[in-house]
Amino acid sequence: MSHPDFAIEAEGLVKHFGKTKAVDGVDLRVRNGTVYGVLGPNGAGKTTTVRLLATLLDPDAGRATVLGHDLRTEAHAVRARISLTGQFASVDEDLTGLENLMLLAKLQGFKGRDAKRRAGELLGAFDLEEAADKQIKTFSGGMRRRLDIAASLVVTPDLLFLDEPTTGLDPRSRNQVWAIVRALVADGTTVLLTTQYLEEADQLADRIAVIDHGHVIAEGTSGELKASVGSGTLRVNVRDPADRERAGLFLKDRLGADAHFEDEASALSLQVSDTGRAARAMAEMTEAGIGVGGFSLGQPSLDEVFFALTGHAAEETPAEDEPGRKKRKGKGS
């Protein structure tokens, strides 16, 4: 049944916790060697989806093959080829960086000295050499996350799950994680990452599934998702701010949309559905004597896409489950 080009093929995955329909019929197809983004707000079902695909949960319904192995009947074979970096630090806080990596190396079949060598290589590659002999509980958030990811790469997996890899990280640490993901993919690993940050999906993912209330509500490349919303944004800077009002009325007349005046005194923007008509309107406006300093015709941002698809913003309810790791049991997010 499974297609060799796909690392993950899931159909109709369902997982309910009591009355909570955490995952309620998810279909996914992830092509080998790509980054696949699962985008959605907290509680959308992202973590549960990952836990299902990483063999930590049995689905109530549906089926999936991961790297050609059936999730239910060949879980052990799946585990041999995947790695999981969970949302909450999945390393031992009491142990040092070196010891954590050595433990995982030993569990994956490296013997004494080889385990230590492999752990050392990973510490070097993830810029954690100085922290080798420090306990994890003394690590900063960014170091912890890098160690957590390093721990997933003791044996380079064919498929890596990253559950919200940058939630709670500062921008520099986030960029480091992004660099790691890009290096992994360049090396041939398939990555499925969940995120609630639209920018992250936009930056990293080849394809994106937007998930809300346990359903995939849209799927495609970031460009396709933006195009599916239908409209673009025309941003105009008039040469003389005094002309701005006139420009707004002119464009409204031609394009049938209300102009929005930006904070910058010369800037205005409006939603357009036909880019050709927008370009012609700009030419006519110049001929009509309204000096244009510049204009751009852009696609909507993923934020706008998410809003259009779900009717609510993507990054909401931040306070409730910032990395605290309390909500472990029961419902996933």
């Binding site: 949960l57 969970g86 909450f88």
Partner: protein, 275 residues
Amino acid sequence: MNASHQEVAAMLRATLSTRARPPQASPVANILAFAWRALLKIKHVPEQLFDAVITPIMFTVMFTYIFGGALAGSPREYLQFLLPGIMVQTVVFASMYTGVTLNTDLSKGIYDRFRSLPIWHLSPIVGAMFGDFLRYTLSSGIVVLVGLLMGYRPETGVAGVLVSIALLNLCTFGFGWIFTTLGVALRTPGSVMTFGWLFLMPMTFASNVFVDSSTMPAWLKAFVDVNPVALLVTALRGILDGTGTARSVGMALIAPAVVTLVCAPIALTLYKRKR
């Protein structure tokens, strides 16, 4: 992060491109790896040994000198009676931490990682038990040492001490399944402690650890005579005094065996159940 982005990327590439995978580790290797983890935890969190070291010293010294004169004529006489009891109490208390540690682990992401690895799925629990044996042996060894310094003399010498520690380890391993079950079933380490103490207090104090049951009221004596902790204390006293019988050792082993047969399957089923 001093290295430039390119350098880091190059190092990453080099590290990750070693796709060579060693052959999968055997269950025995898995267990040894987890036992190693337990040892490291003892090394890094010596606080957990504090309970196992300070409490027994305190109990031995305190009870010997407080009760000794009144109960046995002299502290020295009383120590001969008390020491095997304190050994049992100390190690049985220590076994509760098995459940607390397991529960703490389960509530963190690290068990998700273990469960996503191609390893024997029960190896984390079995490996942790080896660490427990070390803790138990250390605790009972310290009690004996403090006893010796205070004038305790086992009739059966070193051999008696070694056999008694072995029996104690074995029986506590059995009782320990109660706490392993609680550790898997309950939500927080705190509730494991609460339930644990509810169970341990009557079991260790309503026993013959401190005094012989002959002076107790009939109803209490009836309980003490079948209390598994008391039976274990009796067996240990016998071994150390040289008056032990196969029967007393056999009686001590019944309850741990029953607990293992009942609780181990429950604990392992709960553990395997994916959550």
